[in-house]
Structures are given as C-alpha cells and as structure tokens.
C-alpha cells in the first residue's frame, strides 16, 4: 500500500508540474510556439467576453493582444486559457500559461510566497456589495445574517471574512467558482448579496434584465489593484509584459492613439514619443524585441484610454467612470515610468 500511495502521489505531482520542464526563456519558448499562452477569466462582461465570432475580447484580453502584437505583430496569435479564481495560479506556475491577464489582485503573499511577479496595475479596484433594491439595505453594515455569494480562491473571500468579523456581524458564505455561477445563484435568491470587485459588480449588473433593480452598497471594503502577472524567475519576460502595459498607458498620456500612431511613428518633436515608437534610439532591443514593438501594440489594440472606453467606459453598458484609473495628469493613479 505504501508503494501504491507513493506512486499515486508522484503521479499527481508529475501531472501538476510536468509541463514546466523547459529551460529556455519564456520569450524564446513563445516565439518557438508561435503563440502567446495567456490566462484569462471565465467571463466578466466588458472585462473578458467572447465576440459573436467566438474570439476573446475585453479589457483584460486586450493586454494579451498587446503583448502578442509586440512580439508577433499579430493579435490573433494568442492562445487563451480560461482560469477560475482557484485554478489561475496553478496554471501560471505550471507553465500552462505564460501570463495572466484577468482580474487578479496584486498582494504581498501572491507576489512573494506564491512565486509570481505582478508587472503592473491595469485597473485600480475595490471590493463592493450588490443587493436587490427591494431588499431595502442601504449599507453593508446592515447585512447581519445575510447569505453572501462569494467567489472562492479570491482576495474578496478573505476581505469578506475580515469585514464581517471586524464589524461583529454574522453571515452565511455561499461559495461559488465563477462570475456566471454567482450571477445564477444571486438571481435565484440563493444569496441576498453578491460581493466582488466593484468593477465586476457593475459589469454583472449591466447584464441583468433590469439593472436598476439592483443597488451597489456605498462601502468599498478593500484595495484591489488588478494587473497582469507572470511567473517568478524570468525577469526578461516580466519586462516585456510590464513595458507593453506601460507603453499603452504612456501612449494615452502622450496622446498617441491607434489612429495617429502611424503618423507619429515617422517622427515627432517629442523625443519620448520617438523613443516609444522607435524612430529614435532602440528601446525594443533592450527587451529582446525590435524597434517597432510598442508601435505594433498601440496600433493593434489602441492606448489604455481607447481600450477602457471601448470595453468598459461610460459609453458601454458597463458604464464605468475613469475615477482612480485616470492618468495622473487628470487626477488618477495611472503613472507609467518614463520611456528613456
């Protein structure tokens, strides 16, 4: 029996880790494979959804597409893998995906103990609560005894436990795996309240038949800086993802859009734009790419503001304000280090 259990343990262990046996850098592996392996969520309106043609679209897949454009010049060269809150880190650590671009909160233990590297923040969020309007609850502190739908394996699960404990009120946690499942349970009345990041709540609410029948509580109980992340240990790869995201943010700051990027790439009187788009210096070579990497990324998906407006901004059903996610020049938190 001992041998049997040992064998089974090893087999399970191998299944978990056997994929991660390559020794070359992630960039080389990605080039060899001809596609970027990107982990995304199972679907949150606006943030990650499939188009009518069946392609993944949205605020988060746009980051994958930008990186693919920077490397290959082709946004279709992305192999998407949907991950739940619970499977995402294992998928990344095991090499099933090479980057995650899904609503994942940057925390200390994930960055250190879980051996992952967050490369930046593409959405500053916080955890909120949503309840049916006819429940008549004005504040999250009035939720004593309520049933709360919560996605397992997330930071929101931990914040929720803290919030209720600190306020000395009780609740029943209804654990669910995905945003869709949460929606179903919430609509069926299995839980009174749904809690997740406020952006996710707004997105989910927009998909209801009657969004006005649901209210968001005023409390935001946590900081949730959401951003793309990669495995620990390959700094060159982390640099590519980090600076692609920064390129999108800088492009907005400098007024470079997918419309005018071609014209600007021929040279402007702003040296930073020239360095970004490759008409001056050779920043691309420093991260193992060519001069036009950022030009391709911006050309393909647009700058940060364009992506925001296209998928989740005011003119979309999601209807999110820029808020904290405005450029630092507009009073927001978006602040990319300089391209120099």
């Amino acid at each position: 029996m001992n041998t049997l259990s040992k064998f089974a343990v090893s087999a399970a262990a191998a299944a978990l880790l056997v994929a991660n046996t390559s020794t070359a850098g992630t960039l080389d592996d990605t080039r060899a494979a001809g596609e970027l392996k990107c982990g995304i969520s199972t679907g949150v309106p606006g943030f990650a959804f499939t188009s009518d043609a069946g392609d993944w679209q949205g605020f988060d897949p746009a980051v994958c597409q930008a990186v693919a454009a920077a490397i290959f010049g082709d946004t279709s060269k992305v192999k998407y893998t949907t991950t739940t809150g619970k499977t995402r880190f294992t998928a990344l650590a095991s090499g099933e995906v090479d980057m995650l671009a899904r609503n994942t909160t940057w925390t200390f233990s994930r960055d250190t103990d879980l051996k992952l590297d967050f490369v930046g923040v593409n959405y500053y969020d916080g955890q909120g609560f949503m309840a049916p309007a006819d429940l008549g609850v004005g504040s999250a502190k009035e939720l004593d005894g309520a049933s709360v739908c919560i996605q397992t394996g997330t930071t929101t699960e931990l914040n929720l436990a803290d919030f209720f404990r600190v306020n000395g009120i009780s609740y029943e946690a209804v654990p669910i795996e995905t945003n869709d499942e949460a929606r179903t349970n919430y609509e069926a009345g299995r839980c009174d309240v749904y809690t997740t990041d406020a952006s996710g709540l707004a997105a989910t609410r927009s998909s209801f038949d009657d969004p006005s029948a649901h209210v968001l509580m005023p409390e935001i109980i946590s900081k949730e800086p959401l951003g793309p992340l990669v495995r620990h240990g390959d700094s060159e790869w982390a640099d590519i993802v980090r600076w692609t995201l920064n390129a999108l943010i800088t492009a907005e700051e400098l007024g470079v859009t997918s419309e005018n990027v071609d014209k600007m790439a021929t040279g402007t009187d702003n040296p930073e734009i020239n360095r970004l788009l490759g008409s001056e210096g050779d920043l691309g070579a420093m991260i193992g790419l060519d001069k036009a990497w950022a030009w391709r990324a911006i050309k393909a998906v647009g700058n940060y503001g364009e992506i925001f407006d296209k998928y989740i901004g005011k003119d979309t059903p999601i209807g999110l304000e820029r808020g904290l996610n405005a450029q630092w020049t507009d009073g927001g938190l978006l602040y990319s280090p300089p391209f120099r």
């Binding site: 089974a8 090893s10 399970a12 233990s109 931990l158 436990a161 009174d192």
Partner: protein, 400 residues
Amino acid sequence: MATTIDMRGPPKSGFSIGKIWTDKKSRGVIVQVIAMAIFCAVVFYLANNVVENFQKLGKPFGFDFLEQESNYDINQTLISYNSQSSHGRAAVVGILNTLLVAFCGIILATILGFILGVLRLSPNWLVNKLAYCYIEFVRNVPVLVHILLVHGIMVHSLPHPKQAINVADSFFLSNRGFYMPQPVFQPLFWLVVAAFVFGLIYAFWYRRAARIKQAATGEQSPVFWVMLASIIGLPILAFLLTGLPIEWQDPVQGKFNLKGGMAIKPEFMALWLALSLYTAAFIAEIVRSGIMAVDKGQSEAALALGLPRKRTMNLVVIPQALRVIIPPLTSQYLNITKNSSLAIAIGYMDIVATIGGISLNQTGREMECMIIVLGLYLFFSITISMIMNWYNNRIALVER
C-alpha cells in the same frame, strides 16, 4: 531394472547461461525483477521531476502552513470554526463534511438500493418495469449531472426564505435549506443516554443467551421483541420519567434568513440525494443479481423441509445472496465516498473544497494540499474496504 523410475527428475547437467532463461522458475524471477526495476525507474523519474521543478520554481516544501490562520469562512461546519482558525482546522471541517455526506449517502443508497432491487424482482409487471426504468435512467446519466440537476431544482424552484414552506411553525423548507427545531439538552438528559447504552448492552447479552439456550434445548425466545423493548423502549421510558428533558428551539424569520434551529443546506441535500439516488440504482442491480444467484432449489428444499417462507428467506436465501452482494457493494460504497468530491461543483465544503481548494489557493501549496487530499481519500477507501472485507469474511461459507 526396467521398473526402476528415477525420482529425482531429469538428470542435472552443467550450468549454462541459456538455462537461466529456458528454466521456467528462474525466468519468472528475471521477468519480475525487470518489471520491478522499470516500475522503480518510473517512480524515481516522476519523484525526481517533482523535486527538480520545485527547486526551479524556488518553492519550499512543508506543512507549516496548516498552522496559519485560514482567513476564510465555511458555511456548514460540524465543529466550531471561524476565519481565525487554522488551515489545519479547515481541513478537519472538510474531512467531517466529506464523512458526513459519505455516511448519510451510504445509508440512504443502501436502503433505496435494496428496496429497488427487490421491486425489480417483483412478479407485478408495473412495479417491475417502473423499477427497471428508474434504474436504467439513473445509472446511465453521469453523477455530476444528477448533482447539478438536484441542486438546480432546489435553488430555483423552492421558495425564498421569506415565503418558506412552513410546517407547524417549526419546520421550514426554502431554497436556503431545510430548517428544523434544534434540541437543547437539559441536565437530566444523560439518564436517557445511560438508559440507551444499558438497553443496548442488555439486548446483545440477551440475544447471545437466547442462542446458547436454543442450541442447548431447542427452545426459542422472543429475541426481536426483547431487543426492541430494551434498545428503544427503555430510553423512551427514561425520557418520559425524567420529564422530557429536551427543549426545542424553533427557527424564526430574521431579516434575511431564518434564524436559530438546525439547518440542512441545499448544497448538502443536493449532494446527498444525488449521490444516493445514483448509487442506489447500481446497488439495486447488485441486490437483484445476488438474489437471483441463489439457486431455486435452495428455497424449494427449505420449503420442503417445512420452514415458513419468512424463515426460508432469512435463513437460506439472504445469507447466500449476501455472499454475492457484499464484494460489489463494497465498491459502490467506495464510489459514493470518492464521488462526494464532486461537491466542489455546487459549493459544498468538503475536503476538496477546503484544504484542496481554498487553502491550496490562498497559500499556493499545491503539492502539499494534494498529498493531504490524496492520503485522506486513500485512508477512507481502505478503511471502508477493510470493514466490508471483515464483514464478507464473517458471512463467507464456512467449509467443514
């Protein structure tokens, strides 16, 4: 001289390498050694791969995290637990939840399975065909579908707690669970427990004495009635004499949910019912095959000897049928236990959901958590197997 036979077998000649292979005995040893070597090599390769990858990822290996605070809540626990408890305690909560659903599932599946199996043998055409249709439908649909179906029906079709189906203001059925009064034991209740234990001991002592008496004198005693009286009657008597030492706390409507009382959550009910209904279909077929395996001549002989039908069944048919039933029944019990891990699909917090799910995710200790979950399932399964094997040996045919 021609009648002398050499009893030492063929004459032994000198040693040669070829002989080792042509000799049946030594060839068997060689093949086994090679097979074992390959097996060890595979195990070593896999283990080595794990160690290497752990080093490459720079991940530590250890079970210290079990003592850290878990920081998450669990909605249904059999022992006290909160978000300040450790990951280890969360694992225990998960283990108990798994055992609870496996235990309840095994009992319900066995009862339903035996009933269905007997109905399947009924000479009544309609009863027979209904049982047949049920069995064929249920066992040909995957158990996960059953679980999702039952859970979906409960959550979507049962009323909201505010409009819960109310029976006598004590029992409430809603899509948040089945609420019932909670017993609050008064000090004198220990007398009832004592009466039950005493009754149990007396009942078995009486049964043993009755058997010895029957073996010696052939005289029969009313074993069933005496056992019933001492196991059930005595505690009830004690309960009445001590002045009903239980108070019932009814659930009441709160702002969001029913408060107080005991609650069976829909996740547990869905998992329990789905696993039981599914496994009962298999058990029914096992029971049917077991009963049909007993030769008709056996019961005819018993009847010819003048045994009444009931005793024929109890003393002749069932003991022989059990010998056929028990081994496959064991594997059905193991299936229930293992299938309970599908709890994750509907959010029932078993071991896979606690230590193998949330704890794994929050601490990033995939390997350690999976080893724990694997070891536990192995332990549960082996324990069930051992119990069933012991029972199987007990009822096995004693050859004289």
